[in-house]
Assembly symmetry: C2
Homo-oligomer: 237 residues x 2
DNA sequence: CGCGTTCCTTGTCTAAGGTCAAGCCGGTCC
DNA sequence: GGACCGGCTTGACCTTAGACAAGGAACGCG
């Protein structure tokens, strides 16, 4: 049953898993499921923030569009992940836009419901802080990547995040459009395409929306351990 | 007296200002002030996180060093700002390193003290979420800048943040070393130097650690409204 | 089947910015 | 005074990736 399936997803989610189960159930009961097609907006940057979301199925992106029209994707979430927790409590507006990148089912939770529970149980507040912290951490990692790695290395890191193992070979599915991947990595779709080409030399093959990594450890070395290669290092090799 | 001066700083800080004053006083009483010279570390990436900090005076930077040695500054804080709130509650390690960039005085608050108060007063939890959210928001803005603006535009934005007005001319003080500014903006010191040079054409003059902006509105247009110029736009002009 | 659309790739050109190296200036320490 | 050091700037060179333009593959639709 979808109901049980969803309940499991929610209880295991980053936000709900650290709450007492009864509290989580209570919250879930007072929330509603929404179903969206691909490409629909969930909320817009500047909308008043009064609710947060948990992904039940599908993929969601958070992004900002700058005045120049450049879209910066600051997060992509899938099953079991929550988003928009923090602004919901601040009586402010959403600082980003949220949009589905595939067909989606979401759990929509009103901030007021959580606030009520929070007054009785400090664990709820802790769970919120934990969820927000997870996002904070992810953003810090994203900034580090943007600053310390080349576009191609970021693509390599992205592929590595998709495959769980740390050595051997593996085949991963690119879960959403390459345009989204590119924007999330801070590059253009063209550059992503070229980066995939360059990763061929590191044993990566792209077949439609799948990537075959012949040697995960090798790709890891390319992405991180070596860092941005200095001229001297390249010349020496 | 320094005591009163500090108390005022803390009560007006992002973290404490949204708590009931008595709670804030209580927390303050149980915290201790520490004094640090310039260039000292406050904590290292990977240290167990059990305390958070409020800046009483001076400047602090948070950064990560990638395996390649590149330093990515993810935050610079001054008087009245707090940092490391979230990890302190997560029983994890600090995900970044904190270091003073000038001589500093800090208020050091043990997470356990806050936890105690949080159990009795949900406002404390709210204050924490608010503080973490502020950082989240800042990081999102930083990512947007890294992706959507050129280095020189980011430098312009940085200068604009330092001067409060939105038009006219003004003279601002660069509050810390240019190396730090560069790393915070995701560029090298060399590029920062060249960016300052380029901003001369937008009416900006650099004199040691001061910047004179002849026309704030004009610099704002350069930084944001125009965005990354397209070739066609440049050719047309 | 042809048609369009959407998504992706490829080619060419250009600009932005990193790397390395050298030099400059204002301190401080002897 | 001179040597030294840190912070900053300048210059030459080269890699990276964005802009633009064109083409190709997959898919749906009449």
């Amino acid at each position: 049953m979808r109901r049980d399936y969803d309940r499991e997803t929610v209880l295991a989610s980053t936000l709900f898993s650290t709450m007492p189960p009864e509290t989580a159930e209570q919250l879930m009961a007072r929330s509603k499921e929404i179903e969206l097609a691909r490409g629909e907006s969930i909320f817009l940057q500047g909308d008043p923030a009064d609710r947060l979301f948990v992904v039940l199925d599908g993929w969601v992106k958070l992004f900002r569009v700058s005045s120049s029209g450049t879209e910066a994707v600051v997060g992509v979430f899938s099953k079991g992940e929550s988003f928009a927790e923090a602004p919901a409590f601040q009586n402010t507006n959403y600082p980003v836009t949220a949009e589905t990148v595939t067909a989606c089912r979401l759990l929509q939770v009103k901030a007021s419901e959580i606030l009520t529970l929070m007054k009785d149980d400090p664990h709820v507040g802790m769970a919120m802080i934990g969820a927000v912290y997870a996002h904070l951490h992810a953003l810090v990692a994203q900034i580090e990547q943007l600053v310390a790695q080349t576009g191609t290395q970021r693509v390599a890191s992205f592929l590595l995040k998709l495959c769980k193992q740390s050595s051997g070979s593996c085949r991963v599915t690119l879960p959403y459009d390459k345009v989204i991947i590119a924007r999330y990595l801070g590059i253009t779709p063209e550059s992503l395409s070229r980066a995939f080409g360059r990763l061929g030399r590191e044993g990566v093959t792209i077949e439609q929306n799948h990537a075959i990594i012949s040697d995960v450890a090798r790709l890891g070395a390319f992405a991180g351990t070596e860092g941005k290669q200095r001229r001297s290092e390249r010349d020496a090799g």
